[in-house]
Structures are given as structure tokens and as C-alpha cells.
Point group: none
Chain length 224, copies 2
DNA sequence: CAGGAATGTCAAGGAATTGTCAAAATGATT
DNA sequence: AATCATTTTGACAATTCCTTGACATTCCTG
């Protein structure tokens, strides 16, 4: 299934040209040369919209707001370079990106592709924590050291997350238990020792760097 | 009081647009379009920095390192779509997060807000005591003299914390024992002598300054 | 300025904490 | 139900640090 693009520009020559080109790139392309037509074509439910905001007789920003209220897809502005100091901000009315005319065709397609990819990659903002060379993606629950992924079990990851989001702070085992398990440890919280060992071992398999520091007689902390 | 943001990107149009938008969100926004300007604008002491690392004629990573050596605030990378793989390296030079262009504005603002929240929290939770050049972080249980960290054992640190938070006051050994151990000393509280010695030795290895003063016939106190 | 009491120094044994490992209990998947 | 991965447990080893006691030094007082 190919992506649907909607191009809105008053210059029919430009829309036709782009349509031709983008069709060859594998997109389904729809065009509109005025506001009314644009709103009408929203019916096809495009995946991305290219919008010229400097159209005569049309308030591009108003149109953008209007479009935005109907669809959630990325909107890419086409703007003339002269109109730089426009008082209204394209972003403020729901635009996602802008390209200044004149532009290279391959730049346009690169940006279109980037937006579509980004859009597909569910737009949940990924919370990422990093320390030194370890990159921890909290929403994907993944851990990378350079190119290599480290696999941790649930508890292991939870402990990493807990310590890492409070990097530098020292926690005794009871606090860690409470923070990760969600309730107080009944007997001794000796489990943590073992999990820490596993975590350290997995990290050590990849790098010599120490991330979890033992604070003797107190607890553990994540190096920052 | 509103947060101060510094946006660094070579595209003036982008910095202007973002400035406009983020101003409406209630931030104080400063912009810079090149490295020199960026370093200069650090003077305003921003709470968060948005940094494009793919600027022409500027080594973004070098700039980041440079910035990091001046300020401790969160640095959010903006990376171009093509150079996605590069973004990972950003963490190595002190970046805190990255957003690939193009991005959704609400994603950007969400991340900015998240970082500022996090920063505020961590700043709040770090209880720090300082005297002369010694900086003691009570939540990290770390002690620094200028750039150098001094490592203390649990009891040693506890004694430092006890004396330092009551700087100037004299305590006899029984009171110190009680305050640090949490219960009264059974026999003589001679242990303290030894701990004080160790503490002094570790500090002396780094500076000649005396921090713990002996009040003969009475006890000890922390100089203020 | 000598004597005694308080403090400083040092080395070493013992106490407490943490690291390690294997095996048992629990939970998940097919 | 059987298998597999994960979590927990407990015993032991390794490590760190706390404490002790003997001795040296300093300080105050007579």
C-alpha cells in the first residue's frame, strides 16, 4: 500500500510537476489549487500534506488551521524565502516542517519520507536516558551499548531504570525494593544483591566500565 | 519566573520560528546561529539548550563539549534525518536527549517540559553542604575538594555529615557517638578518635586546610 | 617543668556487609 | 502438563570496614 500525498499550491504547473515526480517515487498524489479544493480533497485521507502558505487570495495559515482540525497527518509548508519574517508562526497553526522555495526535488522527497517514517513509528515520544555509552530507552525497555543490544529481564530492567533515573543518588536496599517492587520487602531484601550481580555481569560482557557503584554499608548508586 | 531556553541552529528561519512558538508557550527564548554566538549566549544561564549538531562549518559535538564545560543544564540535540546514526554518539559528549528532524512541535515541547521537570526535581533532592572548598552531597554521599573526589567509609561520612551540619558547634565524643550510631556508647567512645584521624588524613592528602578542630578536653567541631 | 590526663597514631583481629554460586520456587509459554 | 526463563533463597567466600588496645604525643595544671 502506498502513501497518499496531497499537494496544495495555487500554481497548477508546480502541482502537476510535483505530482508527476512523486508518482514515480511510488506515492499516490492528489492536488489542489485553492482552499476549497484542498478541503474537499481531505476526503481521501492523505498521509501527508504539502501546503503552500503564500498563495494569493488565500490565508495559508487559516487554511492550515482548518486542515489541522480535520486530519492529524504531517503538514509540510512550502514557503518563499522572501517571506521569512512572517509574523505568524507556521508551527503555531499545526505545521510540522517547512521547505523554502526553491528546493531540490530530492530534498523534498527525503523530508516526505522522513515524516512518513516518523509518523509510522507511533508518535509516542520515547523517553531515553543515557549514561556514558549506555543508552536506555524507557518506553521500549531496551538497552544499547554502542550498536549492541543488552537484554535484561523485567526486574533487572526495573532496577536499572530506578537507579538510572536517579543517577548519583544512593539508595539502600529497602528503598530500591520499595521503588521497584512497589511495596516493602518482607524479610531481608537480599534479592537485590543477586539482581545487581546479574546486571553487572551482562554489562561487563560488553564493556569494562562500571555503572553501578556499591556504597558500602549503605546501598547502591548509578554512576553519573 | 519562566524558564530560559537557548536554541542553537544555523538556520535563522528555524530558530526564529521556534523562538516565536516557544515564547507563546511561556519560555524566555534566546537564539544563536553559530558556535561563537552560542557560547556568548551562555551568559544568560539558560535552563535548557536545544542544539543542532549538524550545522555546517561547526563541529556540533565539539561545541556540545564546550557548552557542557560551562553549564550543567539539559542539552537536547536536534539531528538531521539523514544522520540518524550519529545521534547516538551525542550522548558521549554530554547530550541528554535527541530529537530527529523533522519533529512534531508538541513532541518537542513535551520533551522540553519533561527535562526541565526532571532537572528541577533532581536539583531539589540533592542536599548539598559546603564549607570552604569542600562540597558534600548528602544524597550522593560524595565529597569533593575542587574537582577531586574524596572517598569516605560509611561511619566516616556519617561523622562528617553530623559535624558539618552543625558547623561551629562543639560536641563531646558521647554526643557524636549518639548522633552517628543512633544509640549510646557502651564503654568508652574511643572509636571516634580513630575515625577522626582517618577523615583528617584523607582530607590532608588533598589540602592542608584543617576542617575538624580539636577542642581540648571537650570534643570536636567543624570549622566554619 | 614534671606528671597526668586527653588526644593522636598504628597495626591487627573480628564483625559486618557484599559478592558468588547453585539450587529451589515461581511464573510464563506452548 | 511439560518446558523454559525468571525470581528468590540460603549457604559460603571474599571483602571492607569497624573496633580495639598498646603506645606515642600533646596539652594543661600544679
Amino acid at each position: 500500500m502506498s502513501y497518499k500525498l496531497l499537494i496544495v499550491d495555487d500554481e497548477k504547473m508546480l502541482t502537476d510537476l510535483l505530482q508527476e515526480y512523486l508518482k514515480n517515487e511510488g506515492y499516490l498524489v492528489y492536488t489542489a489549487n485553492n482552499a476549497a479544493e484542498a478541503l474537499e480533497k481531505l476526503g481521501v485521507n492523505p498521509d501527508l500534506i504539502l501546503l503552500d502558505i503564500n498563495m494569493p487570495e488565500v490565508d495559508g495559515y487559516q487554511l492550515c488551521r482548518e486542515i489541522r482540525s480535520h486530519v492529524a497527518c504531517p503538514i509540510l509548508f512550502l514557503t518563499a524565502r522572501i517571506a521569512e519574517q512572517d509574523s505568524v508562526n507556521g508551527f503555531a497553526v499545526g505545521g510540522d516542517d517547512y521547505i523554502t522555495k526553491p528546493f531540490r526535488l530530492h530534498e523534498l522527497t527525503a523530508r516526505i519520507a522522513a515524516h512518513l517514517r516518523r509518523d509510522a513509528r507511533s508518535r509516542q515520544s520515547s523517553r531515553v536516558v543515557a549514561s556514558n555509552h549506555l543508552i536506555v530507552n524507557l518506553s521500549e525497555r531496551s538497552v544499547f551499548f554502542q550498536e549492541q543490544e543488552l537484554v535484561f529481564s523485567k526486574r533487572e530492567f526495573d532496577i536499572i531504570e530506578f537507579l538510572m533515573t536517579h543517577a548519583g543518588q544512593v539508595f539502600d536496599k529497602e528503598r530500591i525494593y520499595e521503588g521497584v517492587w512497589g511495596y516493602e520487602a518482607e524479610g531481608d531484601s537480599d534479592v537485590i544483591k543477586e539482581h545487581i550481580r546479574k546486571i553487572r555481569a551482562k554489562i561487563k560482557a560488553v564493556t569494562e566500565e562500571e555503572y553501578i557503584e556499591t556504597v558500602w554499608g549503605v546501598g547502591y548508586k548509578w554512576r553519573h
